[in-house]
């Protein structure tokens, strides 16, 4: 039995989308609870007192915070269906490193493409594209980062695709034309029901993003 699974999340959170995809891949039934960001509920503060962030996976009352940690948890508990991490320790290490790369580069730089100004913003846009090109290199001729199968790095990365429209509009640049292989991988990934049902609509992400920008006082 799956037990009681609650996902405390926010619709536009790319980190929350990772867990929605993983739970769908594993066929796990869960209760979805939406946080009304940027306002945070007492329940969120109780479940994640240290970072106070979504997503939080709550399994049988126990909270698991940090999306990549929760992703590995989901993979370990529901290990018999659609494994996300490979079984070979070396390949697992590589997958973990690339997921970390997504957090360090794609997320951080993506954020800078709209939060930074002038020269700093231009540099961030350039480095963001370079990071996607590094990922294209890692993908190579494989259909997915996980090889023949959709895997951990694919789940970690695909949610950022829903934010590209926001990055492009605010940063006034085009991502797809510069990274065609990346675009082909996103189209392939979006054919999976777990992904198409879990990813936020880019227009709705953009609306949320405008609220976020105002909240952080970025013009």
């Amino acid at each position: 039995m799956d037990g009681e699974v609650i996902l405390l999340d926010a619709y536009a959170s790319m980190f929350g989308m990772r867990l929605r995809i993983a739970l769908a891949e594993k066929g796990v039934k869960y209760e979805y609870r939406e946080e009304n960001l940027p306002k945070k509920s007492p329940f969120l503060f109780q479940m994640n007192p240290i970072h106070k962030k979504v997503p939080v996976l709550i399994h049988n009352g126990k909270p698991i915070c940090e999306s990549l940690i929760a992703l590995q948890y989901i993979d370990e508990v529901w290990h018999d269906k659609n494994p996300l991490l490979p079984s070979d320790p070396y390949k697992r290490a590589q997958a973990r490193l690339w997921a970390d790369f997504v957090d360090q580069k794609v997320h951080t730089l993506g954020r800078k493409t709209w939060s930074a100004k002038g020269e700093e913003q231009e540099a961030a846009k350039k480095e963001f594209i370079e990071a996607l090109k590094v990922l294209e290199g890692e993908l190579g001729e494989k259909p997915y980062f996980g090889g023949e199968e959709f895997g951990y790095v694919d789940v970690a990365l695909i949610p950022f695709y829903s934010w590209f429209h926001a990055y492009e509009t605010c940063g006034n640049f085009k991502i797809g034309t510069q990274c065609p292989k990346f675009v082909a991988w996103t189209k392939r990934s979006m054919q999976r029901e777990s992904v198409s049902k879990s990813l936020a609509d880019p227009e709705k992400v953009y609306d949320f993003f405008l609220i976020l920008k105002k909240h952080f006082g970025v013009e």
Partner: protein, 224 residues
């Protein structure tokens, strides 16, 4: 065929020490290659082309980077004397606290370390709050996972050494036995543990290194 294990490291890196301890706990023989980060070897750049950082573990020619990733690799490859708990929830907790140590705790300790005297009280507030959270994790336990040394002890190992170095250089007491009884006790147990104690870098060299580092930061921060 005997397997070949190499560890690229620097003499002082707390991240590299995690791997030294892990390999020792598992009884794995390996070759050490000390790197000078101002003059990186072609091998290091070949094995870690993206970041060029240490430590890097090379197992039968295959490189693994990032110390926490290496720890899990070591634990999954040589399964005896496990470092991480088996239960997925406990394992997640261990990963969470290791990340906390490397992100929030290390950042707040570093901020305190480079703070000018007039700013130290403010910088100490966040460091102490983070230390209180770690103190909670150690209640009722000798080490983070119980009676024996494991993943989280190795992850926090840098702190066990650095705290006394910081206290000596800055002439202040950060982890006192009254406010942090469990953390103080853990530090004592950890630094003296048989597998751990022979690996510490020379203290006098560490004091000089961090004194120089601190002076550089303070000089850069001083308004002209």
């Amino acid at each position: 065929m005997a397997e070949e294990v190499k560890l690229f490291r620097t003499w002082s890196s707390g991240y590299a020490l995690r791997i030294v301890w892990a390999l020792k706990l598992k009884g794995i023989e390996y070759e050490t290659i000390f790197e000078d980060l101002t003059n990186k070897s072609p091998s290091l750049l070949q094995y870690n082309p993206i970041h060029g950082k240490v430590p890097v573990l090379v197992h039968d020619g295959k490189p693994v980077c990032e110390s926490l990733v290496i720890l899990e690799y070591v634990d999954e490859t040589w399964k005896h004397n496990p470092l991480l708990p088996q239960d997925p929830c406990e394992k997640s907790m261990a990963r969470f606290w290791a990340n906390f140590g490397d992100d929030k705790l290390m950042k707040s300790i570093s901020q305190l370390f480079i703070a000018r005297e007039k700013d130290q009280d403010v910088a100490a507030v966040e460091a102490l709050e983070n230390l209180k959270l770690v103190e909670e994790q150690l209640k009722g336990k000798k080490f983070f996972h119980g009676e024996t040394i494991g993943y989280l002890d190795l992850a926090f190992g840098w702190f066990a050494d650095f705290v006394s170095i910081l206290e000596e250089i800055m002439s202040l007491k950060l982890v006192d036995g009254e406010r942090f009884p469990h953390l103080s006790s853990w530090i004592q147990h950890f630094i003296d543990a048989p597998v751990i104690r022979d690996c510490w870098p020379p203290r006098d060299k560490m004091i000089i290194k961090f004194q120089v580092m601190r002076e550089k930061y303070l000089a850069a921060a001083t308004p002209k």
